[in-house]
Symmetry: C2
Subunit: 640 residues, 2 copies
């Protein structure tokens, strides 16, 4: 410990930093570049940032998140532990983010998959937002003495029918040399700027028209996914995913907004995180195909409104406070370099249009991909992540709302919760003999339980009467699986000896409470849209379920617990990462982009958080499946 | 003289520099920031860069431009004199440019005046290319929860009807703070970018809508003129003119092109000159009205194609060589800061569209101002400067061409020639008693003769038989006025004792030859257009004469010498600096700008330099007024 600085070393990362006494271990970890899971953003309430202090002194407060044994072993919550001396700190696997910088293939598949276009949806005209054309200009003569620029435009007009074209001064300055040194044969790259203006992004000697790439990006709160797309064929030639390293500043959008607004450089830090992440993905994708990042000339991003703001460095403070106002729902197209994205130096970045603070471009892009807006069928659209967004409509109208589902479906705020990553229990069933069967992502030992696993688990617990309709554990079932801990009852899914962490994987009464509020919020959001439009759930002809979560959802169980409305299973369609699919469609078609803009413009947003009827309905939904069993006739029949 | 460096001091400027031996005195002067007149660009052929070496040694070649007495006095041509030691060099008044950085008021009037709109021309809609609006936004509520950007656009749409709007990232980033810190009252500045897109140039707190200025600029080869325009009233609130300091690199566009293409930093040097000049004018104009250069948000420039290229830093090499190809006739709108213009940091610069290498934006803007293109009258349009441009047409069609008039009309290549500046003889008549009467700009002693004076002078010399129809001095008239010098005959307009320089102001036989070629080129250009279109001069209903030169032209004399076609005097209309007038009209009206674009698009350009008929007709025109007297019936009658 040098004067007023403590040396903090982190294991197993082997990284260290110096901080003044009083700094939290979480903050020290950030400075050292060590990622520690932190859902609550440092409030001490989520209990996820568990670390072990092997040497040195910290000052900390008592917490219910640690057992006396754990405290004995040196466990502290990193956000609550203030540095008092030099430290050696171990970050256990369950609290660790580093090393997961690039998701394993399994996660890429889970997060990055795009459903094929649904049969019956109208395709959009092949017309990418960036395109190249190899031009052979006729050399000037006295009889054909157009200026170099007009000569270029004349040839461009033979390839493309867009009337509005623009060239920057620097490119114009090199135009005469380029044309004459290359025998009047050049390749032009045009990119769509605002208002359908096609801007010259590059002029290259000869014919390079075969090297033309764009990136479609899903900027998720948790996961970033990039598809590298060959703009000449429309094919994804590579895809990669990565956790959003903003996670170190909090797991949900609210924690991020708090960080962005309360810390001096907060917004810049969050922007740097996502930009660095995307650069890492783009570099990996281009390198593996022997391309240069310069070959990528256009990036289309979808994501929720907060994520779009953080990527662009826009003020997010007012998203969080009533009346929930974003800086921009339809941000201008900018040069990717303006935010630090390393693609072509003049390449463009377009964030797709969203609707409101809590219904973002991920939903408009997703609806585009679903084709919902093209059909006369009345359809519901669910995107359930940290926030649950619900839309309802058809070709004539669209309404939407957002439900604060909380992070339960992404494993947050749960004692053994985790994301749908390797080691997560993703499917659960309880056999007639009481045996608990589960399926683990990656087929190894379980480390926790993710959203889809939790839905299965709760449905099975209800079916087997471990849990009653009010969502309370049934004391009559106390035994080896259902046991009473210090504060509450908990159900043991996988005992310590079966798990990868040496700790039990459990579902507690608190977990159930949180979970029921989450599922209730999503269901009630959908119910609100239905009732505001004077419809009935029975009139809904199609239900689209988007998101990595959706693909692994057991619909019957989701109905059993009252997350999804009680409709015939054949009406449900999983559409994968529809946000990413929509971004890719826009990248490949100006027409699809315009359609997305129309979707955003025509979608009516209902703010639920201030609606008293919503609050009443929400309270009624805090049952399994619901206070009003008539709303779930198939579940009622099942229950006999 | 330090090792390998000579100290060169210039009088009376008091400036000095160090150069290696072998450098020319002209180059040393450039480096010292001392301007010396140099028409030929350093070839030693114009004899204008006379300086006196008071101390030190130079190495120089014999030249016919200096008399033995002058050589005795220390006169050398600065471009031919190579430095051999430290020097003290005097730049005599007639070779000096410095001190004339800002033109005197008289010159501003001459170059900057804009004729009022001609009766009968259709006015354009008041719709400036940059405009401000003070906006009062309604604060957001749950029921009206548009994003900040959409809220702004909604209010902007109430003020302006342009659908295409754009905002840059940086402005968007500060939007939320700006709105909330200023009680939702801000002033937006919109500027027209390419393709009619209106871009947000600024957002300011409160109401600053009364401070909205633009600049209309005539970028002349010789003279730069700026009008500072109040965009809220459309009035010019100040105007200033200045010699184009590119003159130090040569007086005509060809010398400038040679400098730009043959010197390593030539293009950059020329661009810096004009940008520095314009900044000086803009600063003076804003300072005198207590404004900041930031209050100027839009600059519209007219000028010939080469001048537009040099301002934008575009390659000019191909303008000079067959087939005479500019880089761009219709350059994109750029940020003024991109070329170094100091106005608002996001202010825009628009160079108006031209037609070809030698028919530039000065002509299209001039035609706009003349209203020629709106009328059914068949009209001729002359703009006579270093280059003479001629257009012919009416509301249905337009043709144009360019005549290499040479610098004769601007006083170049003449022994006593000078620009229309203080001390120039601008009007001449020879009385019946043989007395020579002249009028001097500024009413002081004469220093030389300018274009309008020369036209008068030649016409009077013909009338009084000093000169015959072939343009040769008449030896029979030898006497005190017409005398024989070493090489040729010359006519003394003002003897040394009357002049400001102590030298005779004369017109030599060589001057006559140059002058006749110049006037012949202009006339033949007009004749070519007339004959290509199958017309006769007699069908021309109106002749517009544009340019500072034009205003002081004696039309009768111009017909007498065969410069202008022999038409009734009432058909001639002087329209002042029509290029500047057109630039101002475009600055004030999007509609006028679009009209200018249409004029440029529909104007057919004829290249004369490669037309054998033109060469024949040109030779026929090398008489006074013409070989074919039938073409000048009124002159024939006068001559009896």
């Amino acid at each position: 410990m040098s004067e007023n600085q403590c040396e903090i070393a982190f294991l197993p990362a082997g990284k260290a930093t110096q901080v003044p006494p009083g700094t939290t271990v979480l903050e020290a970890a950030r400075r050292a570049g060590v990622y520690i899971t932190s859902i609550c953003g440092g409030e001490g309430t989520c209990g996820k940032c568990r670390v072990i202090v092997h040497r040195g002194e910290v000052e900390t407060k008592p917490t219910a998140h640690l057992t006396p044994e754990e405290v004995e072993e040196g466990y502290v919550l990193a956000c609550q532990a203030q540095v008092r001396s030099d430290l050696v700190v171990e970050v256990p696997l369950e609290s660790r983010w580093e090393g997961r910088a690039l998701l394993a293939d399994i996660d890429v598949i889970r997060f990055g998959q795009i459903a094929p276009p649904r049969p019956g949806t109208r395709p959009y005209r092949d017309d990418p937002l960036a395109k190249k054309a190899a031009l052979r200009l006729s050399p000037p003569t006295l009889a054909d003495n157009l200026s170099d620029l007009d000569r270029l435009w004349r040839e461009v007009d033979r390839h493309f029918d867009r009337p509005l074209k623009q060239m920057d001064l620097e490119t114009l300055q090199r135009l005469p040399h380029l044309l004459r040194e290359n025998d009047w044969q050049v390749t032009v790259t045009l990119g769509q700027r605002c208002c359908s203006v096609m801007e010259v992004l590059d002029l290259e000697p000869g014919d390079t028209s075969h090297r033309s790439y764009g990136a479609a990006v899903d900027v998720g709160t948790t996961t970033l996914v990039v598809h590298l797309v060959d703009l000449t064929t429309g094919q994804t030639v590579g895809s990669r995913a990565k956790y959003n390293s903003q996670i170190r500043y909090g797991e949900d959008v609210i924690s991020r907004i708090i960080h962005a607004t309360q810390e001096k450089e907060g917004l810049t830090e969050l922007q740097s995180c996502v930009v660095r992440d995307l650069n890492q993905l783009l570099r990996a994708l281009t390198e593996e195909r022997g391309l240069s990042p310069r070959d990528v000339t256009y990036v289309v991003c979808a994501g929720n409104t907060t994520m779009m703001h953080l990527l662009l460095g826009l003020e997010v403070a007012h998203i969080r406070r009533e009346p929930y106002i974003p800086t921009a729902c339809c941000p201008p197209v900018i040069r990717a370099a303006e935010v630090g994205l390393r693609i072509h130096e003049r390449g463009l970045l377009r964030c797709l249009p969203g609707v409101a603070a809590y219904v973002g471009a991920d939903i408009t892009a997703g609806i585009l991909a679903s084709g919902l807006h093209q059909s006369s069928e009345l359809a519901l659209y669910f995107d359930i992540g940290t926030n649950g967004e619900v839309a309802l409509g058809n070709a004539d109208w669209l309404v939407c709302c957002s439900a604060s589902a909380g992070p339960a479906f992404e494993g947050g705020e749960m004692k053994s919760g985790m994301r749908a990553a390797e080691g997560a229990i993703e499917k659960v069933s309880i056999g007639p003999d009481g045996r608990v069967l589960y399926q683990v992502i990656g087929n190894g030992k379980p480390r926790g339980i993710c959203g889809s696993g939790l839905i299965d688990c709760v449905a099975e617990l209800v079916r087997t009467h471990y849990v009653d309709r009010a969502g309370q554990f049934n004391r009559e079932q106390l035994g080896p699986r259902l046991r009473e801990e210090e504060y509450e009852l908990e159900f043991v899914l996988a005992p310590a000896e079966e798990s990868a962490t040496g700790q039990d994987v459990v579902v507690t009464q608190s977990d159930l409470d949180v979970f029921i509020r989450s599922k209730g919020a999503v269901y009630t959001a959908a119910e609100s849209l239905i009732s505001r439009l004077g419809c009935e759930f029975s009139e809904v002809e199609r239900v689209y379920i988007a998101g990595g979560f959706g693909n692994y959802l057991d619909i019957r169980n989701a109905i059993t617990i009252g997350l999804m409305p009680d409709l015939p299973l054949e009406k449900f369609t999983f559409i994968g990462n529809a946000s990413l699919a929509g971004a890719k469609m826009c990248l490949l078609s100006q027409e699809a982009l315009e359609e997305t803009e129309r979707i955003a413009a025509k979608m009516t947003y209902f703010e639920l958080s201030t609606d008293p009827k919503f609050m009443n309905d929400f309270v009624s939904s805090l049952f399994l499946p619901h206070t009003d069993l008539e709303k779930f006739p198939s579940v009622a029949r099942q229950m006999g």
